[in-house]
């Protein structure tokens, strides 16, 4: 569907006193520089977020960034990016999800929606292609409703909604659309702070493709490739198959990262066959996708990350209990990784006698998830995430609060995946497996995942970050990556035939380095220093049963090396030369003086 070269700005104010909606044109250069998805979202966040803004303040923007490939017949492209300043990390946050809502949002005739302001009471924001028909509708009756219930209450609408957690500004609340979640970083709390329970979109706009015939042919070709062996794992097994594999390779985090295995028998129970036996199984697919990787067990969608976080990380090994917890996160609108990570941290605090709560490893998570979403008593403290809870508990608990920049770690053990250790430390979003696919490098032949290399490891991290920036800006599903042999060349072709953007592979590489640079620049503006690019003390000081630790000094040296390889200073600052090389100099005047004068 290409591009509309304009965005929709929405300022929400009191119900009945008007909703300001305006289309704002964007220059072609913005798309060449930032493409779409997370790239365009980062640009718009930089442009519209006041420096130092409270993420939950009305003036903090919530951005729904669409992408050039969205709405085309190309498989796995029905995706959007939700971008904001995270209330969990105070750094950039971006989450992707696939849905018919994304397809419908594109038909508003814009490439992004930027929402600021706050309603006077809980409301639904209805967006229509005809701006005069956009409106706010009070929805007190939907307070506490699940995203699915909101969708059912709005038949015929394409809906993105928050659950109770978002309404209560839980710092890791998600935004759901068609049952998929933009999960990480707390975008649901940002929407909740605006008192917007749901967004509906309606439009019929359809921009011209630059080369419709080429798109149709490529769509057929890509669909055929998407059904090949390269996607078989996702289609036939689902990512939940990782649990058993990772257990065997000793990279499965268990008991709040105190162990790397739960034992073969337990891992098998949580593997696809075990889940199927326990709850039954159906397979579906995202909107506009030919892969069909959406595996549901007992009606609940389950991915590896949710399984790891709500299972082994919290020492829960009953399939039914894990599925119930995942269903609760869906219903309440919670990021499963941060929910599991925060609970696992609290469990360890209880085990060590640092918290007098009736909570232990292996407990049923559902009542605790309900408390978090309601911010009820102890749930209110958990709703702040593990970093803030650790600061409150004190007594040295910070060393085992497993987060980076405030974002709880995904399901990869840094001590036995040392490229991942660096990737998690430097990622702009915090502990991140989506914008930094460093785990892929760790599992390649020729890479010793138990021993980082000062020179080679940072380069591997940069490569996976830039590759992720490419796929997340187009937006193309990462599960298709194995079917794309020449990602840079093919992506340049896709952008040319859809949006008419003239970028060759080299220019596209530069664009992705620019996107990564801008995300970093945003963090710098919001107070980032290189001291944040590290791991919790546990990973340096507590060897695994095989003796593995992360070498603190080597990690510190690699962080500096990573920034030098990116062309920044060793302190991670973008000097004038680096800004010029990345094509970001025009944005630099918006830097605060200290950053603008970075040596």
């Amino acid at each position: 569907m290409g591009l509309f070269r304009q965005i929709l700005r929405v300022h929400v104010s009191e119900v009945g006193k008007g909703l300001e909606c305006a289309r704002v044109p964007l220059d072609d250069a913005v798309y060449r520089d930032f493409v779409g998805g997370v790239g365009l979202g980062a640009y718009l966040l930089w442009r519209y977020a006041p420096a130092g803004v409270d993420p939950l303040a009305p003036e903090a923007p919530l951005i729904i960034a669409l992408a050039p490939l969205l709405g085309t017949p190309l498989t796995t492209t029905a995706k959007l990016a939700v971008v904001c300043k995270s209330p969990l990390t105070s750094r950039i946050s971006d989450g992707l999800s696939s849905s018919r809502f994304a397809l419908a949002a594109k038909r508003l005739g814009v490439d992004a929606i930027v929402i600021t302001g706050a309603a006077a009471e809980l409301s639904i924001l209805h967006l229509d292609e005809e701006l005069g028909r956009c409106r706010l509708e009070p929805c007190r009756a939907l307070a506490g409703a699940s995203p699915a219930e909101v969708g059912a209450a709005l038949p015929g609408c394409h809906v993105a909604a928050i659950g109770r957690a978002g309404e209560n500004r839980v710092r890791f609340a998600s935004i759901a659309n068609d049952g998929r979640h933009a999960g990480r970083g707390g975008a649901g709390a940002v929407l909740g702070a605006k008192r917007i329970k749901a967004i509906t979109v309606r439009g019929r706009a359809q921009p011209a493709l630059a080369d419709p015939q080429a798109v149709r042919e490529r769509a057929r070709d890509l669909a055929a490739r998407s059904l090949g062996a390269a996607t078989d794992k996702y289609r036939r097994l689902g990512t939940v198959a990782n649990v058993e594999t990772f257990d065997r390779l000793r990279i499965l985090p268990a008991r709040n990262f105190q162990a790397v295995s739960i034992g073969r028998r337990k891992a098998k129970r949580l593997a696809p066959e075990g889940l199927k036996a326990a709850a039954g199984h159906v397979r579906e697919g995202c909107a506009g996708c030919t892969i069909g990787c959406d595996h549901r067990f007992g009606g609940t969608r389950l991915e590896y990350e949710s399984l790891f976080a709500l299972g082994p990380l919290c020492a829960v090994d009953e399939p039914q209990r894990v599925l119930a917890a995942a269903a609760a996160c869906d219903r309440l609108g919670l990021d499963t990784i941060s929910a599991g990570g925060t609970l696992a941290f609290a469990m360890e605090c209880c085990e060590r006698g640092l918290l007098p709560w009736p909570l232990a490893f292996g407990d049923d998570l559902v009542p605790w998830l309900e408390r978090i979403a309601a911010r009820d008593d102890l749930g209110d403290r958990l709703a702040e995430g593990s970093r803030r809870l650790a600061a409150e508990v004190g007594q040295g608990s910070e060393r085992f609060a497993c987060q980076v920049k405030g974002l709880e770690l995904p399901g990869y053990e840094p001590r036995t995946m040392q490229t991942t250790a660096l990737g998690l430390a430097v990622a702009a979003r915090g502990a991140d497996h989506n914008r930094s696919g460093a785990y892929q490098a760790d599992l390649r032949p020729g890479v010793d995942r138990f021993a980082a290399e000062l020179e080679a490891t940072p380069l591997r991290v940069i490569e996976t970050e830039d590759h992720a920036a490419l796929l997340d800006s187009l937006i193309l599903c990462k599960f298709l990556r194995g079917a794309i042999a020449r990602p840079w060349e093919e992506s340049a072709e896709l952008l040319a035939m859809t949006a008419g953007l003239d970028l060759d592979a080299a220019a596209l590489r530069a664009t992705c380095a620019r996107i990564t640079g801008l995300r970093h620049l945003f963090n710098r503006r919001e107070g980032w220093t290189i001291a944040e690019d590290t791991l919790p003390e546990r990973f340096f000081a507590e060897p695994l049963d095989g003796g593995e630790v992360v070498d603190r000094e080597l990690l510190r040296a690699m962080v500096g090396r990573y920034y030098r390889e990116r062309g920044y200073t060793a302190e991670g600052l973008l000097d004038d030369a680096a800004l010029g090389r990345l094509g970001l100099r025009s944005l630099a005047p918006r830097l605060p003086p200290a950053a603008a004068a970075d040596p």
Binding site: T245, R248, Y439, P445, D448, G482
Partner: protein, 89 residues
Amino acid sequence: MPATVEVELFGLPRLYAGAERYEVPAGTLAEVLAALAEALPGLSPAIICDGRPTELVRVALDGRAMIEAPDHRLHGGEVLVLVSAQAGG
């Protein structure tokens, strides 16, 4: 008694092979994988092709280093862990 290598299969390799583990005579990696593919024909050609692991699979020696060199010598007693190449989730 001839030296053998134990092979454990996870993810896609297990799915294609229809087996969780198998024992094959020691030799080079190429010989071991060829013997495995002959014994478990579902592995060929998607997982093992001409005695080499395809891009869909990783081979972890004793669950640690990923190996792929066809002439890598396995003397017997080792465990080869075959896993899906894609790790994301």
